[in-house]
């Protein structure tokens, strides 16, 4: 299964991620 987030945010929103990395519920995805 898959979860897809689609959202609007200001231009300076940054993801703290790398494609292919494992992630766990509650860990940071990104912020301004």
């Amino acid at each position: 299964s898959t979860i897809v987030l689609i959202f609007e945010a200001p231009k300076d929103f940054n993801f703290r991620l790398k494609a292919g990395q494992k992630i766990r519920f509650g860990e940071a995805l990104g912020s301004l």
Partner: protein
């Protein structure tokens, strides 16, 4: 050849044909892999090889929903007490499940595999990050993320799907005073200077399969798309364009402090059922549905103008087997 009895002629014919065609196809695929490796060595970008229309139709014709429901029924059969440890240990070993985080570690507690699949975690197992405004709604693997250009979203690097097919037409709670924006993307971005972002998280079979609110937001609307239940593992996401638009999915839309926000749970073959804790009317993976249809439900009522308020980390829903 001339003396062989007629029956053996029929017997002989399919076998060599199958061997020849199967061998030829396998040989061609090996040649393609060899050629791609050569191109990679030369530093050339290889365009993803997408399934053709007939391959997608062939795959969609597989009764995955029926298989999924049958699998779900099987996993709900209560196991005898003595059989639980060996069966669940095999599942845990096969999919790398970490039972030390489970709220209940004793395998005999789970009456069937479905209950083990829906296990909860110890509260302290997943602290929710307080610093960042968006946190991961679930365990899993990041397939892709980034800005949404035009109205196409990447399902994996280089393979996209249409945002409007995926979310369906914008459900406006109030009549718009102005004509809808030119592109679908611009209909979603409500504030000047904002951009549209996306992130795709793939949950493997052994992962914790509940999902939580990724931020502080209010959920105004649910749209349920019945659909196929093709596998959504990264290999399939690289092969079938618009995969997420074919599959059964539940789209939750609403607003957060910066405007539009949505979370979509996409089902898959082994995980055909999706539950949203506050949505009693949602029934997924039903035997009958009409192609291309979707069911809408608004959470905005006279009493509750905003919709359902969700805090970051709050339990939101779960995927179930079958």
């Amino acid at each position: 050849f001339h003396t062989a009895p007629v029956r053996s002629l029929f017997l002989l014919r399919p076998v060599p044909i199958l061997l020849a065609t199967g061998g030829g196809y396998a040989g061609y695929r090996q040649y393609e892999k060899y050629r791609d490796r050569k191109l990679e060595k030369l530093g050339l970008e290889i365009p993803p090889k997408l399934a053709s229309r007939w391959e997608v139709s062939l795959y969609k014709s597989v009764p995955t929903r029926l298989l999924s429901r049958a699998c779900g029924r099987l996993n709900q059969v209560e196991l005898p007490y003595w059989l639980r440890r060996p069966v669940y240990s095999l599942y845990i070993w096969t999919f790398g499940v970490n039972m030390t985080e489970a709220a209940v570690e004793d395998l005999h507690h789970y009456r069937n595999l479905s209950e083990l699949f829906r296990r909860k975690l110890k509260p302290q197992a997943r602290p929710v990050c307080g610093l960042h405004c968006v946190t991961s709604p679930s365990d899993g693997k990041i397939l892709t993320f980034g800005q949404v250009k035009n109205s196409e979203v990447e399902q994996v690097k280089g393979v996209t799907y249409s945002l409007e097919s995926f979310l369906g037409p914008r459900a406006f709670t109030e009549d718009l005073p102005f004509p809808p924006a030119s592109s679908f993307r611009n209909q979603l971005v409500t504030r000047e200077g904002n951009e549209l972002y996306h992130c795709v998280i793939y949950l493997a079979p052994g992962d914790y399969h509940c999902f939580h609110s990724p931020t502080d937001w209010t959920i105004a609307h649910r749209r349920h798309f019945p659909g196929s239940l093709m596998s959504v593992n990264p290999g399939m996401a690289r092969w079938i364009k618009e995969l997420f638009c074919h599959n059964e999915r539940v789209v939750l839309t609403g607003d957060w402090k910066h405007g539009f926000f949505s979370l979509t749970a996409v089902g898959a073959t082994n995980v055909g059922s999706i539950r949203i804790h506050f949505d009693r009317e949602l029934h997924t993976n039903s035997p009958r549905y009409s192609k291309g249809s979707y069911n809408d439900l608004s959470f905005v009522t006279h009493a509750n103008k905003e919709g359902i308020l969700m805090r970051k980390g709050e339990p939101l829903g779960e995927f179930n087997l079958g």
